[in-house]
Symmetry: C2
Subunit: 277 residues, 2 copies
């Protein structure tokens, strides 16, 4: 069974187009490579009610994991954990373990002479204020800990928005959880590039190859200046083959078979296979 | 009143982390610059039921506009319009105006000697198969037309996933619709950069400046290797000020006032303003 994951990104900077959502891209790639499947990505603003709504909506779809990014820091606009608490209808209070993690960071700063004393100001305690009954995840790159909540069959994980912190907590605490669920499933992909055929001419050939190779997904991507150019001159069409299987060798064999069949169909129709990646 | 917009991006390539979602970024930036506000971005797979669900969910929130990207092409996996038809419970049939647009493209290819005759194959007719009661939007860059549907108070717009085509239809047909609704509203933003203070020390200063400058939103962004570095050495904190106002001069004055006040607070706390953008 496919391990389904939803990603929720919290941050006004994403909704005003200030920041490109590289976190969603990184997570999607990583989750896929672990053999699980991202079913949905949702981006919402830094508002408690928005976060609460989107968390509740995602939980209703019962994915195995929900991963949020952003909104764990010390400033007023970091509202993800308050939003999750509201969404889960849980109390929002200081998590002792998270507070220890935060305190430890400032003790390191003290040793390094970066601060004069360890003060747990309200802004710093804020980073350790969690929905009740959740677990803190160590952030060895930054200050704000991540969070793990179990809600029915779903593990809800909150990661920071600063990319190296998000990635570090994911690798340290989340990768193993997903891998355990996904088992031996592997995602396999391979691309070939086609010249001399329009996408609309490729369409029925793709249908045929898909029909003969169940389990393999084939998607065409038009590059270059435009689809018009590709339709007219055909220089920029990628055919992307992918599959998820329990064994590496099975997956590879399935893809190679589909690629071989579609390549033949393309050549019979006057197209050229430009290169294989 | 704020003109609210939701963006829905359709495409497995986004969910497997193959493609970075630059379309959502471009649209969010453009929509914000027109004085409207993106409330949510949702990414879903190339499945009719997924598209139907996400469209229905978005319509329930009654945004003024919903803009979808992707899934308008000739191949089997281009299912956005079928999904919208299902979501709106409308028939899915050939749109005569869209078919004329598609036909015209192939007549151009014929003239250019790229094809030998104009054949409206099923894959090509597919690009002109629309939910009933909707309008085709001209695509002067590519082949597949965009779509406009009116659903209650919401205008639902479907754009292609190929970036130059998406941008071209947006500029030709959508910009004026949004501008008309947003009226004279303008979005204004300005950043300053802070050295020598931790984000957790900045937090209460930001609170104070926000309190004294209603309508101005101030968000801190930590750059560099990590928040830890920024917490420890403070070299990479951006303070981003933004507001939406009816007049350019009013917006500018509001931002300058907030920047002046927060700069003073930062300096009083021992921080340095590194540069102003």
């Amino acid at each position: 069974m496919v391990v389904e994951i939803e990603i929720i990104c919290v941050g006004n900077e994403l909704l005003i187009g200030k920041t490109l959502n590289t976190n969603a891209h990184w997570l999607a790639k990583r989750v896929t490579s672990l053999g699980a499947a991202v079913r949905r990505v949702t981006v919402v603003s830094d508002e408690i009610d928005e976060v609460a709504s989107v968390v509740r909506e995602a939980l209703k779809r019962k994915p195995r994991f929900i991963i949020t990014t952003g909104g764990l820091g010390p400033t007023f606009d970091d509202k993800t954990l308050a939003g999750i608490a509201k969404g889960l209808r849980r109390k929002f209070a200081v998590n002792e373990n998270a507070l220890k993690m935060v305190k430890k960071k400032y003790e390191i700063f003290l040793k390094e002479g970066k601060i004069e004393k360890v003060e747990l100001t309200p802004s710093r305690v804020k980073m350790a204020t969690f929905p009740e009954g959740t677990k803190a995840l160590r952030n060895h790159v930054g200050t704000a800990p991540g969070m793990l909540a179990s809600v029915g069959e779903t593990s809800l994980i909150a990661l920071p928005g600063v990319p190296p912190e998000m990635e570090a907590i994911f690798e340290e605490s989340v990768t193993s959880m997903i891998k355990k669920e996904a088992g031996k499933c592997v995602f396999f992909e391979k691309s070939i590039y086609v010249d001399g055929l329009m996408e609309s001419n490729l369409a029925p050939l793709i249908d045929q190859a898909m029909h003969n190779n169940s389990g393999v997904y084939i998607k065409s991507h038009v590059y270059g200046e435009s689809r018009l150019r590709a339709e007219g001159q055909g220089p920029h069409i990628e055919l992307h083959f992918s599959t998820t299987a329990e064994h590496r060798t099975v997956a590879k064999k399935q893809l190679d078979r589909a690629i071989g069949q579609l390549s033949l169909l393309v050549q019979k129709s006057g197209g050229r296979i430009r290169s294989a990646a």
